[in-house]
């Protein structure tokens, strides 16, 4: 692959990027020819984005970019002045970023956004430019371009925004398109559409440099995959080689970490299982804990009990009652002009003891609202949630607070759910205080929690900002475990994590469930993840549960057309690869 290729639009040889003493990329070489796609794959910090940005001169301040060759068309990118760079960007090479809502100017209509780039490089007048803009928008698959061009980014759906972003990137007709995580923030059906659009651009002769953390996404487009780790090339080859016959351990690890149908019941990460113990909490309100301790003693037997439906036992609570049951939830929010938008229509589901219920759906399907109602954070308009067969959502907050320790939550963004003024010690200490752990015992208890989630006492004094995303999610899990809960509501717990970190967190959640028999309400847009973790699954669309059943049954024999669409849209690495 290192053979000199005169046909190539882009030639990169021995690219090295340093930030001060820190090396971000070393010795990266690749060629990109028209109509071909090279994919840089890796986890955060692997140097994949920064390598792509070197082709745009956007590596950032404080950086040193060196290469024995860095050529784009006829330009030697190593010697460009800022003014020359501006001529290259947009005209020769376009950039599509991950988050279209952030990457598009909120005060610009998408029409003027696309026109800006077009007019800058072609010097067209407003009138003729507008017609080309409409043609461009139509080309990226936006229907009614005349109407859409006048709209602002916030008025458009995520898919339309991403299309608009692509339109502005290709407006000046660049021969090279760099797509940096172009589908990461998108729902799976929209992701499929955007990938199809990129494939079409590629067929029309655009050279595509794709940057992604997702091997499955990449496998559908790429002609060559380069796996990066900590700035170094780990492995490179065709998708077939990389995906089906990886040589490097790291590549294999990455592939193993992807949750899917085949990984059910298997560990995703190479880490050993975590060991969890129920905390023996002194000074807890005995009255509130009687039920728990009774249950604690019989935990191993209970999951069998519930499965067989038997009810012979000395438990204070009927063991047949599901731990969490949502009945006919309806929720609406006021919308414009006095109307109301209904986000939940008659939603019912049950979470069995010690099991995981996965709720999947795309953004706006109402799954997070359902979670908030289950947590007692948002009141439902009608319907109710029962906790362990007893009233929960209908309680008054004062009564609910005494039982909140039984149901805890882990969110997608732990940083947002931690008080920015807290460090790990105060975060865990506060959670422990709600179950009456005395001040003097909190550090020990917090350390025990940290050790269970694979961290240690040295993290007590850390601020969440000083921790990595995976460590933060572990802290969130430790915080949730502090109150010894029976249920943990996980709202997109792994969607902000790298695949290998995601694997660790998913394994951790499974160990936790195996050993503590905690029931998990697992909300995710990622069907692969849900298929891996959930015993039962509820598929939500437009505020309704369109399908509900045992996970294997739902995925293998989907009955609802929407479920079928969702499953079909999942990019898979096992799909037959066309030889190009």
């Amino acid at each position: 692959m290192t053979v000199e290729n005169p046909e190539a639009l882009v030639s990169v040889r021995d690219l090295t990027i340093n930030f001060g003493p820190h090396t971000a990329v070393t010795g990266l070489s690749f060629d990109l020819a028209p109509g071909r796609c090279v994919a840089l794959v890796g986890e955060s910090g692997s140097g994949k984005s920064v390598s792509a940005r070197a082709l745009l001169g956007l590596v950032g301040p404080g950086s040193r970019v060196e290469a024995s060759e860095l050529r784009l068309g006829t330009h030697d990118l190593r010697t460009l002045t800022p003014a020359q760079w501006r001529g290259v960007r947009g005209r020769e090479v376009g950039l599509v970023l991950q988050d279209a809502l952030v990457s598009l100017d909120p005060l610009n209509t998408i029409g003027s956004e696309v026109a800006e780039s077009l007019r800058l490089h072609t010097g067209l007048a407003k009138k003729p430019a507008a017609e080309i803009v409409h043609a461009l928008l139509r080309r990226v698959g936006i229907r009614d371009p005349e109407e859409r061009a006048a709209q602002y980014p916030h008025q458009l759906s995520g898919g339309l925004r991403q299309r608009a972003l692509i339109a502005s990137a290709v407006a000046a007709g660049p021969r090279v398109l760099i797509a940096d995580e172009p589908t990461t923030a998108l729902d799976v059906t929209v992701q499929a559409q955007v990938l199809e659009l990129l494939a079409e651009l590629k067929r029309e002769g655009t050279a595509l440099l794709l940057v992604s953390h997702d091997l499955a996404v990449v496998s559908e487009l790429a002609d060559e995959i380069i796996v990066l780790r900590a700035g170094a090339v780990i492995e490179r080859g065709t998708p077939a080689q990389i995906l089906h016959n990886p040589r490097a351990d790291y590549t294999r690890q990455l592939l193993d970490a992807v949750p899917s149908a085949h990984t059910r019941g298997e560990r995703l990460s190479p880490l050993p299982p975590a060991v969890f113990t129920r905390p023996r909490v002194a000074g807890q309100d005995e009255a509130a804990r009687v039920g728990d301790s009774a249950r604690l003693g019989t935990v191993p037997a209970r999951s069998e009990l519930t499965e067989s439906g038997s009810s012979e036992s000395g438990l204070t609570v009927a063991p047949t009652a599901p731990i969490l049951e949502a009945r006919n939830l309806v929720k609406s929010y006021p919308a414009s002009r006095g109307r109301r938008t209904t986000v939940l229509h008659d939603v019912s589901f049950t979470l069995e003891r010690g099991k995981t219920l996965g709720i999947v759906g795309e953004s706006g399907s109402g799954k997070s609202t359902a979670a908030a109602i289950a947590l007692g954070l948002t009141p439902a308009d009608s319907g109710e949630v029962l906790l362990d067969g007893e009233a929960w959502s209908s309680l008054r907050e004062r009564e609910r607070r005494a039982r909140r320790h039984r149901i805890q939550t882990i969110s997608q963004d732990p940083l947002g759910s931690f008080d920015p003024r807290s460090n790990v010690r105060t975060l865990l200490g506060e959670a422990l205080s709600t179950v009456g752990v005395p001040r003097g015992a909190r550090d020990d208890a917090a350390t025990a929690l940290l050790e269970q989630v694979g961290l240690s006492a040295i993290h007590l004094g850390r601020h969440p900002l000083e921790l990595s995303g995976g460590q933060r999610q572990r802290i969130a899990i430790a915080q949730a475990l502090a109150t010894n809960p029976e249920i943990i509501v996980c709202d997109e717990p792994v969607s902000a994590l790298d695949v290998s970190i995601q694997a660790q967190v998913l394994d951790l959640l499974r160990d936790l469930q195996d050993q503590l028999h905690v029931s998990l309400l697992f909300i995710s847009h990622d069907l692969g993840v849900v298929r891996h973790v959930a015993h039962d699954v509820a598929v939500m669309q437009h505020g309704r549960i369109v399908e509900f059943g045992e996970t294997g049954e739902v995925f293998d024999h989907p009955r609802h057309p929407y479920t079928r669409d969702l499953i079909a849209a999942i990019p898979t690495i096992s799909a037959p690869l066309p030889a190009i």
């Binding site: 930030f19 001060g20 940005r53 745009l56 001169g57 956007l58 590596v59 950032g60 301040p61 404080g62 950086s63 040193r64 970019v65 190593r78 010697t79 800022p82 760079w85 501006r86 960007r89 950039l95 990457s103 908030a372 947590l375 007692g376 954070l377 607070r401 005494a402 909140r404 320790h405 149901i407 805890q408 939550t409 969110s411 963004d413 947002g416 759910s417 931690f418 008080d419 920015p420 003024r421 506060e430 959670a431 709600t434 601020h463 900002l465 915080q479 109150t483």
Partner: protein
């Protein structure tokens, strides 16, 4: 996209940590202001260190004397040493500035948190009352307060301080509304924290950033406003060596002894600038750094 600038061949820029540190470094102007504030504080607490002369009793025979060894800044219309009067007046201006700003801060926090966290009827009552207060010019509010309380140092303090409350309360309320909707408050509720703990330990500390800036800048504003009210005869009463009052008394003699007016004016200006510059620096150095974490 063009916001990002890269200069692969340009001079290397400092790493972020270096730049942040240099932003907090002591600028010469800031150092000078801090020194002035320090001297003013000493003068306010121990005026005797700077001058041995009496600020109240003067010798009428020495009236309107220019600057000399005996009287560095000269004397006023009653033969009192001007430097001594200014030094002894420091305490009035500084305490008024800090005190009034504190009244505004504390009142603003209480009302703002009440309005923002309770929402509902309390919010509506408090917000409307603040709107009414904001509709009046500050001078009018101050005049009203002094009319009710009678003239004097304490009424001046309240007159200036009360006028600061509505602005501060609005800032706090907006922050509280924003913070109470944030993820960590929701997760605190889900954790089972009591409302009192949520408000005092999480909502209030995270809502204070903007109002602290408001209070720090307010010290200088209050000093000027207090001096202005004293100038109008609504604050300190003669023979108190209050700077605004001194200005007011001196204006009759502007043509024959301009320094009697100039020096208090110079000190008011100097104090306000130094206090504001130092306060801003302290706020950037300590408050915004912590809240940005």
């Amino acid at each position: 996209m063009s916001l990002l600038r890269a200069r692969p061949d340009g001079p290397p820029r400092l790493p972020r940590s270096e730049r942040v540190r240099s932003a907090h470094a002591l600028h010469p102007g800031v150092a000078l202001s801090a020194l002035v504030v320090l001297l003013l504080l000493v003068a306010a607490i121990w005026p005797g260190i700077f001058t041995g002369q009496d600020p109240i009793e003067g010798n009428p025979a020495d009236a309107f004397a220019g600057s000399s060894a005996a009287h560095i800044l000269g004397t006023d219309q009653l033969g009192r040493d001007l430097f001594s009067r200014i030094i002894h007046g420091t305490i009035y201006s500084l305490s008024l500035g800090v005190g009034a700003s504190l009244i505004g801060l504390i009142g603003g926090i209480i009302l703002g948190v009440l309005a923002g966290y309770s929402r509902g009827i309390w919010d509506r009552v408090i917000t409307r009352a603040l709107d009414v207060l904001l509709a009046f010019p500050e001078v009018l509010v101050a005049l009203l307060t002094i009319t009710i309380l009678g003239p004097g140092q304490w009424s001046l303090l309240w007159a200036v301080g009360l006028g600061r409350i509505p602005g501060a309360a609005r800032l706090v309320r907006t922050q509280v509304l924003q913070i109470r909707g944030s993820g960590f408050i929701r997760s605190g509720i889900a954790l089972g924290l009591s409302p009192a703990r949520l408000v005092l330990r999480h909502v209030v500390p995270n809502s204070l950033g903007p109002v602290l800036v408001h209070a720090v800048i307010g010290v200088g504003v209050c000093i000027i406003f207090g001096a202005a009210l004293s100038f109008l005869g609504l604050g300190a009463v003669p023979p108190t060596p209050e700077w605004g009052l001194m200005l007011s008394e001196a204006r009759q003699y502007l043509s024959i002894a301009p320094w009697i007016a100039i020096w208090p004016g110079v000190f008011i200006t100097l104090t306000v600038i130094s206090v504001t510059v130092t306060g801003r620096w302290l706020q950037q150095r300590f408050i915004s750094k912590r809240s940005s974490l």
